[in-house]
């Protein structure tokens, strides 16, 4: 049997794939964070809670209204995006003039309130969400048993990441957004509604988190705590990629997912800190992050 780094090639390939799947979630979540930070300069600590709300939206749509996974995939992000828009319009937008710290504290508090509320109503051990019938089961790839749903997550996440990147970097709307953050006064004087653009951006970020949440629902327990377990790792990824760099967030998300997967084979105990070790090294060597521009 071919060996690689002392483990069988087959096991190695399996772990690589698992890492890629986790990287998909990291990429989608860090993408939303990077957009919100890049365009609004808000460090959105409520991102984990919005991810959790997405998963719960899927669960509640199914159990209350019988709306299936596929519709939830569209409706969930819309609902969470709308709630994000409300938060931005009535609270966050009042903090833009102040130090970044206020936005961070506000979203952190908001996350605690949302998580506490869900925990009060749904307990801590989580709710089940079944894999949609079309995507259940798995295929034997020879080196591992690959659940079809996980393959779908990788594809969906790639599509979402590339689509969002194109939207912001290549479309007219995207150019307005970027211009509005560079010089809001000037853009406003061209007759563009800047506050509305910022609200849309926050809603988009929250919606992306919710989408990741619904994609995660069949894999992880739909639990009020699911976001807080993930959010710190995702922040580390954004820092490694370069705060605000959208491409950086995507590429780093996949890369660190794979790296973490491999750590789980070679030294499992370190798998939850490997990302932070990388973060520390990157901050020492390239403080602006791998893809960030020096300020």
């Amino acid at each position: 049997m071919t060996m690689i780094f002392g483990i069988p090639l087959q096991a190695f390939l399996g772990q690589l794939l698992v890492g890629l799947i986790n990287g998909s979630f990291y990429a989608m979540l860090s993408l939303g964070l990077a957009i919100i930070f890049g365009l609004l300069r808000v460090i959105n600590f409520a991102h984990g809670a919005q991810y959790m709300m997405g998963a719960f939206a899927g669960f509640l749509l199914l159990s209350w209204l019988g709306i299936n996974y596929w519709f939830a995939l569209i409706l969930g992000p819309v609902i969470v995006g709308l709630s994000g828009a409300v938060v931005e319009r009535f609270a966050l937008s009042r903090l833009y003039k102040l130090d970044h710290l206020y936005g961070l504290l506000f979203t952190f508090g908001l996350a605690l309130v949302i998580e506490g509320g869900f925990r009060y109503f749904y307990g801590s051990s989580g709710q089940p969400y079944a894999t949609p019938a079309l995507l259940s089961g798995g295929v034997n790839l020879g080196f591992m048993y690959m659940p079809i749903y996980r393959g779908w997550v990788v594809v969906a996440s790639l599509v979402v990441c590339i689509g969002t990147w194109l939207l912001i970097e290549k479309t007219k709307l995207g150019s307005y957004l970027r211009a509005a953050t560079e010089n809001p006064v000037l853009v406003q004087s061209f007759g563009i509604n800047v506050p509305l653009l910022l609200t849309l951006t926050y809603a988009l970020g929250a919606g992306l988190a919710a989408l990741a949440g619904i994609l995660a629902a069949p894999i992880y327990q739909v639990s009020p705590l699911m976001g807080s377990n993930l959010i710190i790792v995702v922040f580390a990824i954004v820092v490694v990629g370069g705060m605000g760099s959208i491409m950086g967030a995507i590429v780093t998300g996949y890369m660190l997912g794979i790296l973490e997967g491999l750590t789980k084979v070679f030294y499992p105990e370190a798998s939850n800190i490997v990302i932070f070790v990388i973060m520390a090294i990157v901050l020492l060597v390239r403080p602006a992050g791998l893809f960030g521009r020096d300020a």
Partner: protein, 402 residues
């Protein structure tokens, strides 16, 4: 005459003193339920244990020796320092007579230490460590419901008998995980099983597929999950996704209860083996209790909830028997009476504080076999109390003559 009257009054007062001491101090019996109500164990025990305690008091009639019984509760957030502060405040300022439940081993050990120092009774149902009735035992500390030893004997020992003789562990990388893995391994080996390996995962990981693939590749017949709460739930859910149970390997959750199986759903949980000290749908008596509990909470009780009901009931019975709420007398009464309620079923309390009762090896049913809500398990075997628990003489507790 005056002197005589004074002397008689003094004699009367002196005679009355023991009678006063033999009553209830400060005219109320106060029970504190201290546990995790907002973290990962909020369903495992949580406010549901408080409800069980209230139910026990109501069933008892609401009074003991003619004085009212009051139950208060607080959230210790799984932090021993927070728990220690609450315990001191309860004992010193709020005249709490006993603290119960105490989910999380580190918290239970801290509060048992304080209770011993303050000479108060504590009764643990939510924590797992055998230390509570081992080296750190207390003459006023009692341990109900389960411990790591009983889980190891139940799930480990019984599965080997059923042919599950090679194991691979997924272990949470902290003291609790290690102690579960170690105690279970010991049992496996003594009953002829082998341990093929173990992977240590960080606490609160979200993705277990890497670890599960390693366990799958080991070819072990049983994958033992030496973790707890959401970690176990996610391991099981993802094991089902990767076709591990369908592929012929068996999952054994070393600390998992009805509450978590409910959260997981029987689709993902089916085939899972676990050990509990109580199952509501086991016989008529437990069903009757389960249904009454369900009516007030909307959930069926697990062993921690039913165990808390039992500790409160036994505590009140012991006060009645002792004729006082004075700590020494009540502790003696707790040890001297069999625990005769829906949970204890004639269990006995050993000198080290361990309540010895039967445990049940349970298997999660397939969704098609679940005939009513919360009917998640079938009982595979009953593990007699004297096998499930460490012999008091071998527990290392200084209170027991070795």
């Amino acid at each position: 005459m005056k002197n005589l009257a004074f002397a008689s009054a003094a004699i009367l007062a002196a005679a009355a003193l023991p009678a006063h001491a033999a009553g209830i101090s400060d005219d109320v019996v106060k029970i504190g339920i201290l546990n995790d109500q907002s973290g990962v164990y909020a369903d495992f025990g949580g406010t549901w244990s408080y409800e069980a305690a209230l139910m026990a008091v109501e069933d008892f009639g609401g009074t003991v020796l003619g004085k009212p019984v009051e139950v208060i509760t607080a959230d210790h957030q799984n932090k021993p320092d927070v728990a220690a502060n609450i315990a001191r405040q309860w004992y010193d300022e709020e005249n709490v007579d006993t603290i119960m439940e105490l989910t999380t081993s580190s918290v239970a050990l801290a509060v048992q230490g304080i209770s011993k120092e303050k000479k108060k009774i504590n009764m643990v149902t939510g924590a797992a460590t055998t230390e509570l009735t081992g080296a750190q035992c207390s003459p006023y500390g009692f341990h109900w419901a389960y411990d790591t030893h009983a889980l190891a004997v139940g799930t480990g020992g019984a599965l080997v008998e059923q042919g599950g003789d090679s194991w691979y562990f997924l272990t949470a990388d902290y003291a609790f995980g290690y102690s579960l893995e170690e105690q279970t391994s010991k049992f496996l080996k003594s009953s002829g099983g082998t341990v093929l390996g173990a992977v240590r995962h960080p606490l609160a990981s979200t993705d277990y597929s890497s670890f599960l693939l390693q366990a799958q590749a080991s070819g072990a017949k049983v994958i033992g999950l030496a973790n707890a709460g959401l970690d176990t739930a996610n391991s099981i859910k993802q094991a089902s996704e990767f076709g591990i149970v369908a592929g012929g390997q068996r999952l054994a959750a070393l600390l998992f209860t009805l509450a978590e199986v409910h959260g997981l759903g029987s689709e993902a949980a089916q085939g899972l083996t676990l050990t509990e000290g109580f199952y509501w749908n086991r016989d008529d008596e437990s069903r009757e209790f389960g249904k009454r509990y369900f009516e007030r909470t909307g959930r069926m009780p697990n062993m921690v909830h039913a165990g808390t009901y039992s500790t409160v009931t036994h505590y009140l019975k012991s006060i009645e028997k002792a004729g006082t709420d004075e700590t020494e007398a009540v502790a003696d009464a707790i040890r001297s009476m069999p625990v005769d309620d829906v949970f204890g079923r004639g269990g006995t309390v050993a000198a080290n504080g361990r309540m010895i009762h039967d445990m049940y090896l349970l298997e999660a049913k397939a969704p098609a076999d679940v005939s009513e809500p919360w009917d998640y398990f079938k009982v595979l075997a009953t593990i007699p109390g004297d096998q499930a628990y460490i012999k008091p003489s071998e527990s290392g507790c200084p209170l027991v003559s070795q």
